[in-house]
């Protein structure tokens, strides 16, 4: 009887208008049977507050205009400080190649730059979200 539906928090991390990509991903994750908590834009601390209340399995942040290193640094640090290391953190959008290694060092497990396939993102989530029931 028990079963878990994967819950994903999706939002942009800077206040700008490039939200076509993250909205596209939201509908695709919906079509893949996931529950997407969609927000336009959140400050890093709000990301963590929301992720805790909504008890999401995945945080997906969209960044198209830089600033992602600082944002992800805060998000991952806050998650650790508040004891929520279990959540899978991903970032997508315009992410330069040289940022991938520092992001991974922070604990960002998925980095999906330009040209990424939705099917790969979905597979990545299924592979990395631990079973909960």
């Amino acid at each position: 009887m028990a079963s878990h539906t994967i819950r994903v928090l999706l939002c942009k991390t800077t206040m700008e208008s490039h939200d076509r990509g993250v909205r596209f991903l939201a509908t695709k994750l919906r079509d893949a049977g996931m529950e997407v908590i969609y927000l336009n834009f959140l400050e890093p601390v709000e990301v963590v507050d929301t992720a805790i209340e909504e008890d999401v399995d995945v945080i997906g942040l969209s960044s198209s205009v830089e600033g992602h290193l600082a944002v992800l640094e805060t998000v991952t640090r806050q998650l650790q400080m508040r004891g929520h290391r279990r959540v899978l953190v991903m970032v997508g959008g315009v992410i330069p190649e040289e940022d991938i290694a520092p992001l991974q060092a922070m604990g960002v497990q998925g980095v999906f730059g330009p040209g990424s396939y939705v099917s790969d993102i979905i597979q990545f989530i299924h592979d990395h979200v631990p079973a909960r029931v």
Partner: protein
């Protein structure tokens, strides 16, 4: 299930620990093994919160209004739990839950907890687990629990089975006066809100609803000692206009329920609805499961096919309802 883990969750809820409350809600959503035991423990601690339903059509401004209302209550020092429900896909069962977009004003405040739920195919405007999530918030000491329904049409009225106070949010230009005579959504309101009052047509909509309320009042008055005079408030939630009047109306409705004894009536209605729902959703599947596992199903079904036993007779035997079973036995004799 690990007893210590259930105890930890139970204690954490009582202490208002957000991470634990969030986990408890996931337990309920997942039908986790520990959920039933947790609710058994918690149920005795509930019954304090004022449960307020906010319903209305999609795009009426429900989430924006909830944000504004919760902000006022939080500023008054109340603790507020918000359950924001959006529809699941009938095809993929996935969902995009977007109510929080309008709730940034209260999100993150210490005394406010927002949880987005997908209805997971449950009809009527709520989700299957809504009643239990209310209990979690109630048990966590929330003063008010706001349930924001899925955007509804004319007949999704389940929220009135769960809430003490129902706020129906209407928008201008949603039809003529005849619409206001119809049964369903407009009947369940304890407080009416016409949102987007800055839009053209708002004055007309308010007038039509006022007339509807006046007609209802004239036919209602006779047999009630202190009838609740359903308030109609016009708002522009986006601009925070009129929202204080909504809060005042909801608070007055709570006082009215408490002082008139109707609070107990509503509690009885809530309990009745929940037990009836559980009989259908929990007991029936268990009866089926038991019958299939014990082999009773396979024993009786051929007898139904052979016309020795009626379908109703078999159903009653499975549920151990004696009347028809004994009637059948007598007929055989």
């Amino acid at each position: 299930m690990d007893k210590a883990e259930i105890e930890r969750i139970y204690t954490g809820i009582g202490a208002g620990d957000k991470g634990v409350i969030a986990q408890a809600i996931t337990w309920i959503e997942d039908r986790h093994d520990g959920a039933d035991a947790l609710l058994e423990l918690l149920y005795r601690q509930t019954g304090r919160a004022h449960v307020v339903g906010i319903t209305g059509p999609p795009g009426a401004g429900k989430s924006t209004l909830v944000n504004e209302i919760a902000r006022i209550w939080a500023a008054q020092g109340l603790r507020v739990g918000i359950i924001a429900i959006d529809p699941s896909s009938p095809f993929s069962r996935g969902a995009v839950l977007g109510d929080r977009v309008r709730m940034r004003g209260v999100s993150g405040q210490q005394q406010v907890f927002i949880r987005s739920l997908a209805n997971r195919g449950f009809l009527g405007g709520l989700s299957r687990s809504t009643a239990d999530v209310v209990k979690i918030f109630d048990g966590a000491g929330m003063d008010v629990v706001i349930i924001e329904t899925v955007g509804v049409g004319q007949s999704e009225v389940s929220v009135c089975e769960l809430a003490h106070t129902v706020v129906v949010v209407a928008v201008p230009n949603a039809g003529d006066a005849v619409q206001t005579l119809k049964a369903g959504l407009l009947e369940i309101a304890d407080v009416f809100v016409v949102n987007k009052r800055d839009m053209p047509g708002a004055v007309n909509t308010v007038r039509q609803l006022r007339q509807m309320l006046a007609i209802r009042r004239s036919s209602d008055m006779t047999d009630r000692p202190s009838p609740w005079d359903i308030p109609l408030v016009s708002t522009n939630a986006l601009a925070s206009e009129g929202v204080m009047d909504v809060v005042r109306s909801v608070d007055e409705h709570r006082h009215y329920l408490r002082s008139s004894g109707l609070w107990e009536t509503r509690e009885a209605r809530r309990a009745t609805n929940e037990v009836e729902l559980l009989l259908r959703e929990d007991v029936v599947p268990r009866v089926l499961e038991r019958a299939r596992q014990s082999g009773l199903w396979d024993t009786l079904l051929p007898r139904v096919i052979a016309r020795e036993l009626s379908p109703l007779g078999m159903a009653h035997q499975l549920a151990e309802i004696p009347t028809l079973t004994s009637l059948n036995a007598k007929q055989k004799e």
